[in-house]
């Protein structure tokens, strides 16, 4: 059974210093604390700068004694992250997990992975090869993907509000729902439907 008391505390603590870290974890659905959505800002000085990356978090029954399952919901071009599925290749999410780590520390590690790719232990072989052979092309593609997928929410937020309002939801509710899920249109819809 997931230790929900700890998860609650983790969420509180993590969101308390959101201003400093820029890292946020929110439940996708208030009734179910095993499905969470994490958000990390792209690290400065990297092709991911300026982007906001959503990460799907799924807590297994044994949490925190088993590692949380994390994958990128936002498409990202990185040697250790699958460009297809968003799967993350990070040791602390596997055998190096320790119960003393938290969702926030794990997300910090993911953020650190964005700044320091390890192409020798790749998740996505295509990206890793590009990283090693044509570094400039890699930087270009990664930046383009950040622009295209990790910034869309801020630009088109009015469009999304409009769309959801047309579906019959009150505007105030739509705005707060969109905000709480980090701007993801589908998640906002899910939230609105579940009440």
């Amino acid at each position: 059974m997931v230790d929900f008391a700890r998860v609650q505390k983790e969420l509180q603590e993590c969101n308390r210093d959101f201003g400093v870290s820029g890292i946020k974890v929110i439940p996708k659905n208030e009734a179910n604390l095993t499905q969470l959505l994490g958000t990390i800002p792209g690290p400065l000085g990297t092709p991911y700068e300026g982007g906001t990356f959503n990460i799907d978090i799924n807590l297994p029954d044994g949490y925190p004694f088993e590692p949380p399952k994390m994958k990128f919901a936002t498409k990202v071009w990185h040697p250790n992250i699958s460009s297809q599925s968003g799967a993350i290749c990070l040791d602390i999410l596997k055998d190096q997990w320790s119960p003393a780590l938290t969702l926030k520390t794990a997300l910090l590690s993911v953020q650190a992975l964005l700044s320091a790719p390890e192409p020798d232990d790749p998740q996505d072989a295509v990206v890793a090869q590009q990283y090693l052979r044509e570094y400039q092309t890699y930087v270009g593609t990664a930046r383009y993907w950040t622009e295209a997928f990790a910034k869309a929410s801020s630009l088109n937020v009015e469009e999304k509000v409009q769309k959801l309002v047309e579906m019959g939801f009150p505007e105030a509710l739509v705005r707060s729902a969109l905000e709480s899920v980090g701007g993801d249109e589908n998640l906002a819809l899910e939230k609105l439907c579940s009440g």
């Binding site: 700890r6 983790e10 004694f65 088993e66 320790s98 003393a100 520390t105």
Partner: protein
């Protein structure tokens, strides 16, 4: 029993002569036939392999634990953690201790020995924050591990349960991030048994079985259904053993005893024989599927227009359906180019490969089958002996029959496995780049000469054992007896020579790969004996340690780390026997 051979010494001079020459042979090869237990072939010397039953497992493990505990003056759980890290190899552990020092070795194995117990325990009234559940818990409910990290008991328990369920419990690490410390097994047992007594038991069993699972010198007997035993060997893991349940197996790869084949050769051979890949190969090369009924069709001659039994005609070159109008060179309304050279060549190669395999397989099979048939000989022989005994002649000793029969079985076995060996040794699958064609030819000739000599003698031995000697006169029996005794010695020597040739002249010079075979056991596959659980073998450990330390310091070469692949490979080869050079031609010398 040796005297038994001579017990009918009323025999002729000639016989005596023959004997003395046999004795000489024996001394050369260090071989004595004196202690055959002919029925089972059990050797009387103390065997090097031991059977470890469920009951003696604890004792076997404790033996090692005691040594390390005495040597390093550590507690049992530390000794176990160290031994698991060093895969129960006490010598390697000592080497690491001498080379890298106590603290470094302990740190690598995740062992922290608390030198002095905390004298002022935290006040019982205070509360401590547990970094896992993030709750404030009373200090008395917190456990501090040797690595100095403390968490609350509930969290520790949960952590242990998850790890035991994962089956990774032989080395449960501390919960702190990046802490390499191994948790104290007593604490684990104590905490887990409160909530899950069954898991605590399981944990105990895992610890016990680590002696088998994590130890390269101990392996489970591969019997099905499992007999519950494990076998421990000393020194050499490339050997063949017999468990007390009766199963004989190769200790190295846990499949049937297969020497003089190496484990890799045997694995490949067994696979090849089971999937009949050659047959499939032949069919794909020699036939083409009929475009109508899809049966494989073989072309047995004639022109390129082939007719299937279903009545469909098709072009042999492209496999396409055609009409029946044709000449030798063309098919009406069909053109698909000319006959291709290379496809013919490919077929030729595949055919040669198949015939080669068939050659070796047939002989392997023939000897295996003979072996099975001769097992029935055992009963017939018993009858014959009974008949002879009933005759009330002066013949009283029949050990030569049983010894001969045993020798026949043993040699037959060696002979049958020598064929798959030869198939790979002189084929292209494994050693294509190891030898030039000329080298290979020379070696193959040498080996085959030996193999054929052995083969002809085995057949002769078989013939004499199958003779109806119970109907013979005393003189005839004596003659038969001489032959059997002679042939027994000869085949034993030939087997031994063949193994030596394989080990020293064929496998040892290999550059790129290492193939090890179990050494020839004249007396048969060794039966492992039950482990005795006495403590008399306990040596004064401190002395032993200092001796070991001196030895390692002296040579300075006993390193376990940093050996290059090359030297590792060399060290894996068995030291050559001193006398082999006198018996064998060194094929490495230029001809």
């Amino acid at each position: 029993m040796e005297e038994d051979y001579y017990s009918m010494s009323g025999g002729s001079e000639e016989e005596e002569d023959c004997y003395s020459s046999d004795r000489e042979d024996d001394s050369i090869y260090g071989l004595t036939n004196e202690d055959f237990d002919a029925q089972s072939g059990a050797p009387s010397k103390a065997p090097y392999s031991k059977v470890i039953t469920r009951e003696s497992l604890l004792a076997a493990q404790t033996e090692h634990l005691r040594r390390v505990m005495d040597l390093l003056s550590v507690r049992e759980h530390h000794a176990r953690a160290l031994l698991i890290h060093y895969r129960w190899d006490v010598d390697q552990l000592i080497a690491a201790y001498v080379e890298r020092g106590k603290s470094c070795m302990f740190a690598e194995a995740g062992v922290t020995v608390v030198e002095h117990v905390d004298l002022d325990p935290p006040e019982t009234s205070s509360t401590v924050m547990c970094n896992v559940c993030m709750d404030d818990v009373p200090a008395k409910d917190v456990t501090r591990m040797d690595c100095s990290h403390s968490f609350c008991n509930d969290c520790w328990t949960e952590h242990f349960i998850v790890k035991i369920k994962e089956g990774l419990s032989r080395r449960i690490k501390c919960m702190a991030h990046k802490c390499n410390g191994i948790c104290d097994e007593d604490i684990i047992k104590k905490l887990v048994s409160v909530r899950h007594p069954d898991l605590a038991e399981k944990f105990d069993r895992f610890l016990l079985e680590s002696y088998i699972e994590d130890n390269k010198m101990v392996k489970w007997c591969p019997s099905t259904p499992h007999c519950g035993n494990a076998i421990r060997v000393e020194n050499d893991e490339f050997c063949e053993v017999e468990c007390s349940c009766g199963l004989q197996f190769c200790f190295s790869c846990a499949s049937e005893a297969h020497s003089p084949c190496s484990c890799l050769m045997w694995e490949m051979w067994a696979k090849k024989c089971s999937d009949e890949s050659e047959t499939v190969n032949w069919i794909t090369v020699h036939t083409k599927p009929c475009p109508k009924c899809h049966k494989p069709v073989e072309k047995n001659g004639g022109c390129n227009l082939v007719g299937c039994i279903c009545g469909q005609a098709f072009c042999w070159l492209c496999g396409g359906a055609t009409g029946r109008n044709h000449t030798w060179s063309t098919i009406a309304d069909h053109s698909c180019g000319r006959y291709k050279e290379d496809s013919e060549e490919k077929a030729e190669i595949a055919k040669r490969y198949l015939y080669r395999y068939m050659h070796y397989h047939n002989r392997y099979k023939a000897h295996t089958d003979s072996f099975k048939q001769e097992s029935g000989l055992r009963e017939t022989i018993k009858e014959k002996i009974a008949n002879l005994e009933a005759k009330d002649s002066k013949l009283r000793d029949f050990s030569w029959v049983t010894n001969g029969l045993y020798r026949l079985f043993r040699s037959r076995q060696a002979l049958s496995y020598s064929y798959p060996f030869a198939f790979y040794m002189f084929g292209d699958d494994l050693f294509k780049n190891e030898m030039t064609t000329e080298e290979r030819e020379i070696k193959q000739n040498l080996f085959e000469d030996q193999q054929q000599q052995l083969e002809s003698n085995v057949e002769k031995l078989s013939k004499f054992l199958e003779e109806p000697f119970d109907e013979y006169s005393v003189e005839q029996v004596m003659r038969n007896r001489m032959e059997v005794i002679n042939l027994s010695v000869v085949t034993d020597n030939l087997c031994k020579k063949m193994y030596e040739c394989i080990e020293n002249d064929l496998l040892d010079p290999l550059q790129f790969t290492t193939h090890m075979i179990a050494p020839y056991q004249s007396k048969g596959i060794q039966k492992a004996v039950e482990l005795t659980t006495g403590w008399d073998a306990q040596i004064s450990s401190n002395n032993e340690f200092h001796e070991a330390a001196d030895q390692f310091n002296g040579t300075g070469q006993a390193s376990t780390s940093g050996t290059s692949d090359d030297s590792e490979q060399l060290s894996r080869k068995r030291p050559r026997k001193g006398n082999f050079a006198t018996n064998l031609i060194d094929l490495n010398l230029p001809a």
